[in-house]
């Protein structure tokens, strides 16, 4: 079980990414010039449906949250690096691994680069921890507690954005 479950979870995830075509770097690139909206069509339903289910699971005590630290400077700088790299690479880490398995050789080059980047990060970690990660470090903060706006309202807002966007996209495509 302890071996089968992660393999199976990964298998389904990789299978789904490929069937949604986000293992094609042109589809990812297309999102950022607003030429192709596949990426957001995958992400928003995953967030809303996943989030509502996890909310219920946490409330009935069958799951817990795994909140990443809000080290705001580190998140901000890291996200800018990630966004710029995304434009030049055309994959994010998960889709790069999946795309490598579908025959993308340049995705493999990027995966090797990612391993190099991880090594570089690990050897810079002491300095980064002291000078970046500890700046504006708010800890494991969730938006509902920070803003006083209930979880359901956040999901309703995201749902409304998704609904308006998707109806508009599908009408435009028709």
């Amino acid at each position: 079980m302890s071996v089968v479950l992660p393999l199976l979870m990964g298998y389904v995830f990789g299978f789904l990414l490929h069937r949604a075509r986000v293992t094609d770097s042109n589809v990812i690139e297309g999102q950022f010039c607003f030429c192709d909206f596949t990426m957001i069509k995958v992400m928003l339903p995953a967030i809303i449906i996943g989030g509502l289910g996890v909310l219920v699971l946490v409330r009935i005590g069958d799951a817990q949250y795994y909140i990443k630290d809000a080290n705001l400077l580190g998140v901000l700088l890291g996200a800018v690096m990630f966004g710029v790299a995304l434009v030049f690479f055309g994959y994010c880490p998960g889709t790069a691994l999946a795309a490598t398995a579908t025959g993308s050789l340049h995705a493999l080059a990027g995966v090797l680069g990612m391993i190099a980047g991880a090594i570089l990060y690990a050897f810079s970690y002491g300095w980064i921890k002291a000078n970046i990660l500890d700046v504006w470090a708010l800890g494991k903060v969730r938006l509902p507690e920070l803003t006083g706006v209930h979880d359901i309202v956040w999901f309703a807002g995201l749902g409304l954005i998704a609904l308006v966007l998707f109806v508009w996209l599908e009408r435009r495509a028709a």
Binding site: L5, F15, H18, R19, E29, V42, V75, G113
Partner: protein, 185 residues
């Protein structure tokens, strides 16, 4: 006179077994329920991948440098949930591409070719360095499109919300600078 739009690439290639992106997104949402309730570990990619980097670093710089490293020492490499998840993920995409007849070797993708030409060396070098920058950024931020973008945002985490908004904003600006206002057809 022929219009420039005559050369718009066919969008039907490899579509035979594709699923609706909405359905895939919803399925990933349900997969997250299992990840939280059964696996007790949210879906994520760069945390396990950074652990895969440890044995690679050990082969180059020696075991002692890795064992003493403050980043790796709290989470040394093992064949744990996250690493097995990555293997499963590659297997799933591989089988899907074989089953749908869309497995094919790709060296230079359309977007890149349209802007930077067909050079293999240029594309591989750019992918390598962009991959390195991406991983460095993901580790500094604490996650990637999966760990922050999906698993983190669905928990309404402040860090994850900030991450995904800044990633999209910088990629949209970056895309416009690199590929122009209309992208590459």
């Amino acid at each position: 006179m022929a219009m420039p739009t005559d050369h718009v690439a066919s969008k039907t290639e490899g579509r035979r077994l594709d699923l609706s992106p909405y359905l895939v997104g919803a399925s990933i949402g349900v997969l997250s329920w299992v990840a939280f309730a059964v696996s007790k570990e949210p879906i994520g990619v760069t945390t396990p991948l950074s652990r895969v980097a440890a044995p690679v670093a050990a082969a180059i710089f020696g075991n002692e440098a890795v064992a003493a490293n403050p980043y790796w020492s709290p989470m040394p490499f093992s064949w744990d949930y996250g690493v097995l998840f990555l293997i499963g993920m590659m297997a799933g995409a591989f089988v899907s591409s074989l089953a749908s007849g869309t497995f094919r070797l790709e060296a230079v993708p359309r977007f890149w070719r349209g802007r930077f030409g067909g050079s293999l060396i240029k594309r591989f070098a750019a992918a390598f360095f962009a991959g390195a920058l991406m991983m460095f950024g993901a580790r500094m931020a604490g996650g990637c499109t999966s760990g922050h973008g999906i698993s983190g945002v669905l928990q309404l985490a402040l860090s994850s919300g900030l991450f995904i908004v800044v990633v999209f904003a910088s990629a949209i600006i970056g895309s416009r600078v690199v590929f122009g206002r209309r992208g590459i057809k």
